[in-house]
Every structure is written in C-alpha cells, then in structure tokens.
C-alpha cells in the first residue's frame, strides 16, 4: 500500500508529509513532521493531551486520520509563541505555576487558546467546562484555571489599549 502525500499549513508554514491511510494525525505530527508537543495520553479522545487546532477547530489529533489534513491549516503548541514572545497563556502558566509534570500542558495551552479565541472573557465555570476535555493529574486544575483567567485579563487589556 503506497503512502499518502499530505500538503497542509502547520503553524503558519507550508508543510508536506507522507503518512499511512490509517495513521492518526497525532502520530503523523509526531513521527512524520517531528512536532512532539502534542502527546498521546490515551489515544481515545479522553485526555486532550493531543489537542491541536485544524481549520479553526479544536481537535483531539488522536481521533483524526492524517490524510484528512490535506489542504488544512493546523496549529500546535509549537506555534503558540511568536518568536521569543510567549503567548500570554504560556506566560501565565509559567508565572502561575500552572504545570507540574508538564505532559498535559501543551494540550491545555492549545485548548485554552481555542477557548479564549471563542470566548475572551470566560467565567470560572466556563473555563472549567471548556477545559474538561483536558485531563491534568498533577495540579487539581486550580492553578491552570487561574492562569487562564490571568491570561484572559491580560489579552483583553491589551486588545482594549
């Protein structure tokens, strides 16, 4: 069986890769493209560690077949910072100690960014439900939720000024 050639845009750059028909997008990003920021925590869409955004939609990349990425625009955690400037979420996670082991962190950041893009001033409850698809076993979520709140405040302030 010949492999599938996929052309897409990843983190703003044109990208191409070869994949198998049954390969997940997560595996393709990690093994074919070399972007290992998205993690496999479960492989069944239950933990969110593999979160990415494809054509504006937040996804578990473990539940997407890689050939489906043809012609799409993909964002991963590796594309969140602009050069040396961290995204406010990344900065707030760091300053708020919102990570312990850090393996769920890329998924949380991608999901939190998708949440704030859609809802710039979420309530605590909206943040908690918005991030319910991302499991963290270390933090008890407290500092993650606070970091998202802090980032939302920062982003809103920047946009208003």
């Amino acid at each position: 069986m010949s492999r599938v050639h996929v052309t897409c845009t990843i983190n703003g750059d044109p990208a191409e890769f070869l994949c198998d028909g049954g390969q997940t997008l997560l595996d393709a990003l990690r093994d074919e493209v070399g972007l290992t920021g998205a993690k496999e925590g479960c492989g069944t869409g239950d933990c969110g560690a593999c979160s990415i955004v494809m054509d504006g939609r937040l996804l578990c990349s473990c539940l997407v077949l890689a050939p489906e990425a043809e012609g799409t625009t993909i964002s991963t955690v590796e594309g969140m910072a602009s050069g040396d400037d961290l995204h406010p979420l990344q900065q707030c996670f760091l300053e708020g100690a919102a990570l312990q082991c850090g393996v769920c962190t890329p998924g949380f950041l991608v999901a939190a960014k998708a949440l704030l893009d859609r809802n710039p001033e979420p309530t605590e409850t909206e943040i908690r439900y918005g991030l319910a698809g991302n499991l963290c076993r270390c933090t008890g979520y407290d500092k993650i939720v606070r970091a998202v709140q802090a980032a939302a405040t920062q982003i809103t302030a920047t946009n208003e000024s």
């Binding site: 925590g41 069944t44 590796e78 996670f93 312990q100 890329p106 499991l135 979520y141 407290d142």
Partner: protein, 753 residues
C-alpha cells in the same frame, strides 16, 4: 499562609520564581520518553495474557519471527531464571512471566519490528498455549479455605506460629500497645465499623515509555521516564543478569508518576530486544496497557473498633486491615498498620494487618501508600464519635492529636510536628464557618504520612561567568528543579536564575534513590545544600588566595567573599570575580554532596470539604475545599500548593468515582479514561491551600516532604461531608451516585450507623 514558628529570613527560599524547565514545557519542546527517537530504531510491542491466572504450557514464536519486518522476539526464556527467594523475584517475574501468568495483561513475550504495525501484527501471531487456572479476584476468595494458591512458595511472613503451608497471605503485621481489653473497659462509647475499597490507578497522563540502544560492546543506553533512573538501571540489570555498569539510564522528562513509576515494566524488554536485534528499540504503552498491567493501589477490607471516654479522650483502638497488593507480595497492610492510629494518642491498641495476593496487576506505590484508606476508616469514625459526644470535630481531633514527644504506633516519640497547627489553621479559616446551602454538607478530616529520606547526590559546578549548574539525580516530577535552584541560590548567594538545575543521568551524577516518599526536596535538597556549603569553603579559599589573606579571615556574605581581618579594607569578591580567575587559583570550581538523609519529618494535613448532593440522583458536587498541610518550610510555595491541590484532586476522584472494575474472569472492564473516571476541571472548585510551616529540625531549611500527605484526608473529608448533606454514612468506595442514592433510599436519610 500560616507561619507558626519564627524562621530566618531568606532571600530566595520561599519565593516563587518561574521554574527553570518551564519554558520548554510551555512551548512543547520538553522531551518526554515517547518523544525520543533514535535513528534505525525498531518498535517493540508486548504480548500480554488474556487470562487472569494460567499456566503457560508453551509459547510458539516461529510464525511471528518469520513475519515482515520482525527483528526480534523474546520470551521469559531470554532472561536468566529466577527462583523464589531472589531479592527481586516478584519484579522479575512481573516484568516478563515465566511459568505462569498472574493477571490479565501480564507480559509474557515481546516483539520488535521495523514499524509498530509490523510489531503489532507479529505480537498477534505469537501462539501461546495456556492451562487456564481458577482466578482469585477478591480478598474473600483469596482467604477462602479452598482458595487456589497463587504462589506455591508463599509462606506468610510475620505469622505466629510460623506458617507451615503456602497461602495467599504474604505478610501479617501486628502492632500493639497498652492493654486493649482494659482500654475498652474504660470507654464510655465503643463503635466498630467495616469498610471496603477497590483498587485505583495513579492515572499519570504519560504512559510508560522507553528507548533502549544496545551496542555491540554489550553496553546499553536507556532513555526513559521514571521516578528514579538509578532504580531503572539496577532493576534492569537484575532482570538481565548484567552488571550495572553495562547500563546507562538517561532520564527523560516524566509525565507524572505518583508512585507508579517507582518500578519498571518495559525497560528490560526493550534492552533484550535491542540486544537481540542489534538496533535501538522504542516501546510505548497504550493507555489500555497502563491500566491493565501497571500501577493499581491496593483494594482493602478494613474493620476498626474505637473506644472513647465521655470527655472525648480516645482510650482504645482495635484494627483489622486487609490489603490486596495484586498478584505479588506488597507493603499495603504493613503501611496501613503503621498509619491507622498514628495521628492520635490511643494508649491501648492492637493492629493486625494482612497483605493478600489476588489475580490482578501487581500493585505499585501511590502517593502515601495505604494511608488514604486507613484515614477513610479512622477519620469517618472519629466524626461519628465527635457527633455522638457533641464535640466539634476539630476540637475533638485537637484533644487527641499527637504532638511532640507522644509515642507513635511503633513506639518512638514524635519530634516536632505540625498536626495541631494544621487543625487550628482549618478551624480558623473562613471555609469552616461559611454558610451551607440546601443539600450541602461539610466534612473535615486529617491525614498523616511518614515521608522518607534515603540517598541523594548533587554536584555544583561553577561556570566561568559566575553562574552555577546544579546536577542532581532526582527526576523532576513537579517542580523540584526550581526548589534545588532556590536552595543553591540561598547558599551561594547568587541569583536563582543564574543557577541551572539539571537532572543528571546515571553516569553524570552520584547515586540517587527514587523520587518517592516525598523525598526529593527534602533529601536531594540536603545534598544540594551540602555541595553548596563545600563550594563556599572552596570559594573562600580561592578568595583568600586572590586577596592574599588567611582563609579564616574570609566570610561568605550574600554571594561575596568578604574580608573580616584587620589588615585594612579589601574589596569583596563576587562569585563571578572568583570564577574568572579560577585557572590561576587552583582550577575549576566543583563540589559534590552525597548523603543518606536522616530525619524526614512526618507530614500532617487537615482538609475541609463542602459539597452538595442531589438527593434524587446521588450525584455529588464538591463546592468548596480548603486544605492545610505542614510543609516544614515551603521552598517554592507555588509548588507546595500545587502538591496539596493535586493530592486533593486525586483523593476526591478516589472518593467519588475511581475504581477498577473486573468481570468474573478478572478481565478489566474499564481500561480507559472514559470509564476510569479521574476528575476533570469542571468536577472541582478552587482548592484553597494553606501552607503551615513548622520547620523540620533535621533539614537545613526545615523542609518536610509535601508530595504525599495531601492525598490522605480527601476521602474521609468527602465521606464526612456526604454525611453532613444526607445523614448517610457510606463505608464502601467509591461513593458513586449509585452508592449515594442507594444509601439515601435505603436509610431514608437517617444515620447509617
């Protein structure tokens, strides 16, 4: 934060810098074990038993070996034989089964092929002939008179008189003190309760993974995620029958462990496959494998009887504890016995604890192993007693709490501990008095964990520019690099961001035990402090040379060598100034600290949980939570809070929904995060962490381990709060909606006693 004792003012210790490994972790660059790839690597897949208990009649690998891309197939025969009595017998036959499989998911062969696809296909082609044996799946089955015996060599340790026949009881622990009968005779109120709990998983988000590369010289390098790479080295060497020096283990970032990564599963298989194939082999578990074949914490049956006088004085306690440790001997019962009465002054007590084997995955440590379950029993019973006697539950605990000098269950007097301070911190917190709404209840509970010391090593290297690299052997599982840097900054007097904390591999740093028992910041921190103090001695010597004075006239003050002699003024020398001249004053500046840390201070915690119960469905929602814990001294308060909050979340999950579910053949029915329900963000409120600081006299900065104690109180805190909301005492875990509704329905809302 509550500071209960005066402490020195520190410049760095107690501050909250951004962790040094943080940038890599928020940008996706941090390399966890599954992120590593070697050129030419093969992919390894484990063949696992579908049966909970079976004799392996034969394994035929010939078809698998002939399949496309397959480079190596191994079975237990590829490893040296081990006999009962071998120091790590259980670990060896757990990593790869020999004659028998003891649980569903037990590894019995492994395959390496060019692609994961090929390896999976080959694994499916390994033919195994089993003689299926009756499975022992519960404590009652294990203890039945006619129970199948899992291990023909298992003679109960600690039995008196000594065991003459093998059984499924691996160990009996007994502790006693005072006169039990006399104690109960003194009591005005005696209650006895029974509890059952199910195995739970640590639930780290990163599945086990490793890459092993064995060269033609017979030396191998393993990259893996673990709580202790020196243990990976020695355990892998033991399994392979190799010398430690043939194995180098390089720690990857670890994506959570909680005790579950204190042992090994994949590494020896990867090394053996790599040796056989002559290529690097990568192995990554699926979540399904993680659930079936790693980690559960024990399930239990507990029976406790307590006697108390009308004035609230506990006078007698009798505990009968049974812990399952999965298919092999384990310490659950022993640790249960050591924790059950440890927090309270109970002059007359007897404890008997059984460790029992059943046909489920070998249990692994999980955060304060065994203690959350004894706390579940004890702390809910104390609540009942306090109510019966009309005493506030915190006052009742303060009245009976152990303090400095009180004897522990094991006889020794406690050193300075912060239990009462934790109780007072919660009593004085607004949460304890906040109004409760309809169907809401409040529960408090306390928890205790010993904490441990063990061996640690650290090396401090001063760089040419005056910055420092601190190398330790403790994997950073939750921010410990930052703690090491803070202590080093305090000692050396240089900025915390001028210190690069590094986790060194087994050939780059001295031996260091596993990150467990809440020991990293305590014990490895002591090694860092020792190395830094040696470095300061060296720096003073170099400065003395540069100034041309006696070293005794040099003090180290705030990162500078300061001349204190009487021979006029001399400008102080900074670290950078000294390192710049290092070549001329004696060469590079390095110092090491290696020690066996004594005096790990026990940790206490007190939690208050407010929750709401839907009386028609039994659904429980936690609405408010506050947790106090004695950290001794918080080196990096944010990560201390994080440990407390994380422990709470895990404990709440354990209380409400987490459990292993097996079918009647011992096949796990919920091996996914869909049906093994760890708490999600919307299940929890903010968790207010109160850090109590009663310094540990044995540590230079007063540190007590904080990693584990926080998981001990949540189960009883939740149970007591459910009682508050419903009037029902639930004594079986998990307290799922089904159980809660059943309790409400069958008890009609009355006290379930």
């Amino acid at each position: 934060m509550t500071v209960t004792e005066p402490k020195p003012s520190y410049k760095y210790v107690g501050t909250r810098p951004v962790r040094h490994d943080g940038l890599e972790k928020v940008t996706g660059r941090a390399r966890f074990a599954a992120d590593l790839n070697m050129s030419g690597q093969l992919h390894g897949i484990v063949v696992r038993s579908p049966h909970a208990h079976a004799r392996i009649v034969s394994i035929d690998t010939s078809e698998a070996e002939a399949m496309p891309g397959v480079k190596a197939v191994i079975t237990g025969d590829d490893f040296p034989a081990v006999e009962p009595g071998h120091r790590q017998y259980d670990m060896c036959i757990n990593v790869i089964a020999r004659d028998k499989v003891f649980y569903e998911g037990h590894a019995l062969a492994a395959v390496a092929a060019s692609t994961r696809d090929q390896a999976q296909a080959a694994a499916a082609a390994v033919k195994v002939e089993y003689e299926v044996l009756p499975a022992v799946l519960t404590i009652d089955q294990a203890l039945a008179a006619d129970a199948p015996v899992l291990h023909a060599h298992m003679m109960t340790a600690g039995a008196n008189p000594p065991a003459e026949e093998p059984s499924n009881i691996s160990n009996i622990t007994r502790f006693s003190g005072g006169e039990l009968d006399a104690g109960f005779a003194e009591a005005d109120l005696v209650i006895e309760r029974e509890f059952t709990t199910q195995p739970v998983h640590q639930g780290y988000i990163e599945p086990h993974a490793c890459v092993a590369d064995t060269g033609q010289d017979g030396h191998t390098t393993i990259w893996c995620s673990s709580q202790g790479h020196f243990n990976v080295r020695s355990s892998t060497a033991t399994l392979l029958g190799w010398e430690n020096t043939r194995i180098r283990v390089i720690p990857a970032e670890i994506g959570g462990g909680f005790g579950g990564k204190t042992t090994i599963y994949l590494e020896p298989l990867a090394v053996a496959l790599s040796a056989k194939a002559g290529r690097p082999v990568k192995m990554v578990m699926t979540r399904d494998e993680v659930f079936r074949a790693t980690g559960p914490a024990p399930g239990t049956k507990l029976r406790i009887k307590l006697g108390v006088k009308r004035d609230g004085t506990l006078v007698a306690g009798d505990a009968y504890l049974i812990y399952t440790n999965g298919a092999y001997a384990g310490p659950g019962g022993l640790l249960g016995a050591m924790t059950v009465f440890e927090s309270y002054k109970i002059p007359n007590f007897e404890i008997e604890a059984l460790d029992v084997v059943i046909n489920t995955a070998r249990s692994a440590a999980y955060r304060a192993p065994a203690a959350p379950l004894t706390a579940y029993a004890m702390e809910t019973m104390l609540d009942e007693i306090a109510e019966e006697l009309g005493i506030d539950p915190i006052d009742f605990r303060i009245q009976n709490a152990v303090t400095e000098g009180d004897p522990s269950t094991m006889g020794f007097p406690f050193a300075r501990i912060g239990f009462v301070e934790c109780l007072e911190a919660v009593r004085d917190h607004p949460n304890y008095k906040a109004p409760l709404g309809p169907n809401q209840g409040r529960g408090i509970a306390a928890g205790y964990w010993f904490n441990i010391g063990e061996s640690s090593s650290a090396t401090v290297n001063l760089n040419e520019d005056g910055t420092a690299t601190v190398v330790t052997g403790s994997p950073d599982i939750g921010g410990s690099r930052a703690s090491m840097a803070l202590m080093a900054a305090e000692e050396l007097g240089i900025d915390v961001y001028d210190i690069r904390p590094v986790v060194g591999d087994t050939e780059a740093v001295g031996f260091t035990d596993v990150t467990e028992g809440s020991r990293a910041t305590f014990a490895t921190g002591m090694a860092v402090v020792e190395a830094c103090r040696r470095m300061v001695v060296e720096l003073r010597g170099r400065a003395a040379k540069m100034m041309g004075v006696e070293v005794d006239d040099i003090d180290w003050v705030d990162g500078q060598a300061v001349y204190t002699g009487s021979d006029g003024d001399k400008a102080p020398l900074s670290v950078a100034e000294i390192t710049a001249k290092a070549k001329r004053t004696g060469g590079p500046l390095t110092a090491t600290g290696s020690l066996e840390a004594h005096g790990a201070g026990p940790g206490f915690a007190v939690h208050v949980c407010d929750l709401e119960v839907d009386p028609e469905t039994g659904v429980v929602r936690v609405v408010r939570y506050t947790a106090s814990q004695d950290a001794g001294t918080a080196i990096h308060p944010s990560y201390v809070e994080g440990q407390i909050q994380g422990g709470v979340a895990q404990g709440v999950g354990w209380a409400l929904n987490e459990e292993y579910i097996y079918d009647s053949d011992g096949v796990m029915e919920n091996p996914s995060f869909l049906d093994y329900r760890v708490p999600v963000a919307s299940d929890l409120p903010m968790i207010d962490a109160i850090i109590v600081e009663v310094p540990n006299p044995a540590h230079p900065y007063g540190v007590r381990g904080v990693g584990e104690t926080g998981i001990v109180p949540p189960i009883p805190a939740v149970a007591n709060a459910i009682y508050g909301a419903t009037g029902c005492r639930i004594r079986d875990l998990p307290m799922s909606p089904i159980r809660v509704l059943d309790a409400i329905t069958s008890n009609g809302g009355s006290n379930g006693a």
